[in-house]
Amino acid sequence: MSTAEPHPQEAGSQEPEPKIVAFLCNWCSYAGADLAGISRIQYPASIRVIRVPCSGRVDPFHILKALQSGADGVLVSGCHPGDCHYLTGNYVARRRFAVLNDLLEFAGIDPGRVSFSWVSAAEGERFAEVVREVTEKVKALGPNRKLVKEPAS
């Protein structure tokens, strides 16, 4: 796992950014993020990137654990359907994410805390857009108080 992340600065913003853990697949979305960085596209400095080999590697646990550990939001991003480096990793993951997504909503975790996207290696601008959007949503929801765990309490 690598935590090398691009460090885009949002100029002039006073508000503290929410903390969003982004699980990016190595082959598409991570490269997309890289491209956004190289192209100097501006987006909020809200994400902490965790590089994974495939969106299929993202266990729902990782997502819940991030929320328990104090993330305000989680973004999972992988290759577009059909483009998976391992052919079907993202298809299988999609089913799992669908169930998780609906279960989280059922449990009362606000929709928008956890987001999913497909971003290819060529979509630097799209990556920035997704991050902007996700950040706005999470900001609107405010800090994550439902699943967060305070170890010292």
Binding site: K65, Q68, V92, R94, D102, K146, K149
Partner: protein, 280 residues
């Protein structure tokens, strides 16, 4: 001959003729209104078998403990048979090593009341069996009783509060997991320690993660037998989660666990056209 007599007779025959090495069924427990799984290996013990409204435990899971002994006969109501199907598909059981004694189920009772899961049960008769003992239960009988519990239009916060109230009572005894016929992983996610996945404490956050993950792992596999909810000492309605998971799987992937012999477990396969409205 009553169904129970037929059951005892067949069990005895199967054991005497050595067609099976064991009959797994139910016997009366020492406390009133409770039954206990029975593992009958001697023909003369077949007399202790019962089948009535106290026999709520899903026996499919118990098969995993004795399958190494040889061919097993098992008393099977609707939900048990669905679990057996799930276990067959997941390669945990071998059909050739099972003799399924089917019984129609009128629903099981808990403290004198028809169990929740049986009110909503759509499959009271075994889906697979080698022979039926007694008459099948009328398939539509339960549906007439069937006011599927409504979650209603609650807001996120209200749903969170409602579930929190339930889940915060959880003492993490894992009775729900242990009685579940389809929970058989040698190392369950709650027991994983390197790294630990779910916190071991009973804080709301840990309990909620346990319950969400349990439901997720049961999605497409849970047959809604209600054993877990009946087993829970703290009266937690695990069926809330289970029903939701089953509903998601049905609506999204058109799969109902354990009712067909030839479909794959919902979360092990995919359809390129699966709905993905939640993905940006």
């Amino acid at each position: 001959m009553s169904r129970e007599e037929a059951l005892r007779k067949r069990a005895r025959e199967l054991l005497e003729s050595k067609q099976v090495v064991m009959v797994v069924g139910h016997r009366a427990a020492s406390t009133k209104g409770k039954a206990q799984p029975a593992f009958i290996a001697k023909p003369e013990d077949a007399e202790s078998l019962i089948f009535d409204e106290t026999c709520g435990q899903n026996l499919a899971g118990h098969l995993l403990k004795v399958k190494h002994l040889g061919k097993i006969a098992v008393v099977t109501k609707g939900c048990d048979s669905r679990s057996i199907l799930v276990l067959l598909k997941e390669k945990q059981l071998d059909r050739a090593q099972l003799h399924i004694l089917g019984v129609g189920c009128e629903g099981v009772k808990e403290d004198g009341k028809l169990s929740d899961s049986c009110i909503t049960c759509e499959y009271p008769n075994p889906i697979v069996c080698d022979e039926m003992l007694g008459e099948p239960a009328p398939g539509d009988r339960l549906q007439t009783l069937n006011p599927k519990p409504q979650t209603g239009e609650l807001t996120s916060d209200e749903r969170w509060r409602e579930l929190s109230e339930d889940v915060s009572r959880c003492i993490r005894c894992y009775a729900c997991r242990q009685v579940c016929p389809n929970c058989y992983c040698p190392v369950c996610f709650v027991d994983a320690s390197q790294p630990a996945l779910v916190g071991k404490t009973t804080e709301l956050s840990d309990n909620m993660v346990f319950h969400i993950m349990r439901a997720l792992h049961m999605a497409g596999r849970c047959v809604e037998c209600g054993s877990c909810a009946r087993a829970c000492p703290m009266g937690i309605d695990l069926m809330k989660f289970n029903r939701k998971a089953a509903q998601i799987v049905k609506e999204r992937f058109n799969v109902v666990a354990g009712v067909k012999e030839d479909d794959a477990p919902a979360l092990t396969v995919f359809d390129p056209n699966d709905k993905q409205e939640f993905i940006r």
